[in-house]
């Protein structure tokens, strides 16, 4: 297509950068707004899309969306339907009070919003334990409470799979941009290619650690990655650390796929995990 388009606030999105699919209306993602310019010639005026954040314009021709990818280290702001990893701070009668991001008000997770939970059988989570949850609502205005859930309220199942308490494992912090990338990589069908969004580190780790029994990852949009390698027996701790280190280094140094492979090999050798 055309060259990557980087916009600053106030810049217009040119028409030839927009997806040319006319069947359904164009959807605007974050960082863009529609302004109408009153023009003297026609009464209707013409509409322009302008950026409100600095970032790279990305378009999705299939879903007919256009949005702006901003800097990757920005703070996480809860949005409905995001998957997050939350830590229980304390529990009250109806709710678990969870920390999603530091220095913000606690998010609420209903005591019964787990798969198959009833008054009698519900998870007794203690302070510091982790849950993988979905953002249910974010409230209106300042001071509003963010509510999380581990089930789909319509079906009563934990959808998508894996929501609920995270037992064992360890959490690593990554940038929110990296978390979004990891989630996108896992949602697009993983088998078709090794590199999605320039990330080979996960598939590479998967190959190398297969002999140890593999590992589990949970990625929260709030910049947390939970790694569990409990199948690996004695080297479980080493493998967990190695995976976390690989992900964090890839994030910090912005490695390209070839360097990611090298990093995985080097880290595993340093940890005496190379098979």
């Amino acid at each position: 297509m055309s060259a990557p388009l980087i916009l600053l606030p106030g810049d217009e999105v040119l028409r030839d950068h927009l997806p040319s699919n006319n069947s359904n209306p164009l959807k605007l993602g974050p960082g863009l707004r529609l302004l109408s310019q009153p023009s003297s010639k026609s009464k209707a005026g013409n509409h322009v899309l302008t950026a409100t954040q600095a970032g790279l314009v990305t378009t999705d021709a299939k879903r007919n969306t256009v949005s702006i990818l901003s800097f990757s280290n920005r703070r996480y702001i809860p949005t409905v339907n995001d998957l997050v990893i939350a830590q229980i701070h304390h529990s009250s009668i109806d709710y678990f009070h969870c920390m999603v991001t530091p220095h913000t008000a606690h998010a609420l997770l209903g005591q019964l919003s787990f798969e198959g939970a009833t008054k009698k059988t519900r998870p007794m989570l203690k302070q510091g334990e982790l849950v993988y949850a979905r953002v249910l609502s974010i409230g209106v205005g300042a001071g509003a409470e963010v509510e999380l859930t581990c089930v789909n309220p319509a079906t009563g199942k934990s959808e998508p799979g894996g929501l609920g308490p995270l037992v064992g494992g360890m959490v690593f912090d990554v940038s929110t941009g990296m978390a979004a990338r990891l989630l996108r990589a896992s949602s697009s069908s993983s088998e078709q290619s090794d590199t999605i969004d320039g990330l080979t580190v996960v598939s590479e780790l998967g190959k190398k650690l297969e002999s140890l029994g593999g590992f589990e990852l949970a990625v929260g949009r709030n910049g947390k990655v939970w790694v569990d390698c409990s199948n690996a027996g004695d080297s479980a701790i080493k493998a967990t650390i190695a995976i976390g280190r690989c992900l964090q280094t890839t994030d910090e140094k912005n490695l390209n796929p070839a360097d990611q492979k090298k990093l995985v090999t080097r880290t595993l050798r340093e940890m005496n995990l190379a098979s």
Partner: protein, 249 residues
């Protein structure tokens, strides 16, 4: 001449940060932005539909005093116009901008703060961009001094600024509006008009006689130094961040 240098997202804990070094005055500023954050203690002072912008300026060697309060006021009124405080998630929350002067000559009490104002404004803008705070437009600033003989110098050195008969700081938005005009000293309207033209050309390149605010997008080649500098810094950083995406496309 050496241009200014800047880098983005230096601080890991702030939502957005930037550092900026101005070669002529020798001052370097580190700025951080936290937004949107709750300001629970100010619930009565908050406007119901808008974000509250707070600016703090910290001098390197002393505590903040009257001069800093004054310049904070200038920065706040100007940035409030540019930040879209009504975007979702920003109403009744705070945008807190902290600017620390970490190098260069300190401003003595009673000295002019105008020499530092452009650097503070540029840092604030870069930090806001890095924090992805929604803004309606960007801006660029120019510092000009008029000497006793009536010459206009852009980016005067501290010595020039001290001896100048008047000092002017002007900021132009990316659409060409005059956003800020701070002047001090003795000057007349004609001088100010020359200063404005000169500032416009340092900020935005070609002089466009326009009040319509409608400037075509495709004149990027002839963009001015100050404007182009912000864009380059941001583009460089984004290119590095999204190298994986840009390379694969």
């Amino acid at each position: 001449m050496v241009g200014p240098t800047a880098s983005l997202s230096n601080l890991s804990r702030a939502d957005g940060s930037a550092s900026f070094k101005c070669p002529t005055t020798g001052c370097s500023v580190l700025g951080s932005v936290n937004a949107p954050i709750e300001l629970p203690a100010r619930r009565d002072a908050l406007k119901p539909e808008e974000a509250t912008v707070e600016v703090f300026v910290k001098p390197g060697n002393t505590t903040a005093g009257v001069g800093e309060r004054y310049v904070e006021g200038i920065l706040r009124t100007m940035l409030q116009k540019v930040i879209l405080g009504r975007e979702r998630g920003f109403a009744r929350r705070g945008v807190v901008i902290t600017l620390a002067i970490i190098g260069g000559d300190a401003v003595e009490r009673g000295d002019s703060y105008l020499t530092l104002l452009p650097a503070l404004l540029q840092t604030a803008l870069l930090a806001l961009l890095s924090a992805a705070v929604p803004m309606s437009m960007t801006f660029s600033t120019a510092l000009l001094a008029v000497t006793k003989s009536g010459d206009i110098i852009s980016d005067p050195s501290p010595v020039d600024a001290k001896t100048a008969s008047s000092l002017h700081v002007l900021a132009f938005s990316s659409k060409g509006h005059l956003l800020l005009n701070e002047s001090q000293g003795r000057f007349d309207f004609d001088t100010w008009e020359f200063v404005r033209e000169r500032a416009y050309s340092t900020c935005r390149g070609a002089v466009v006689a326009g009040s319509d605010g409608d400037i075509a997008m495709d004149e990027e080649g002839e963009e001015g130094r100050a404007d182009g500098f912000i864009r380059e810094t941001v583009e460089d950083h984004l290119h590095r961040d999204y190298a994986w995406k840009i390379d694969s496309a």
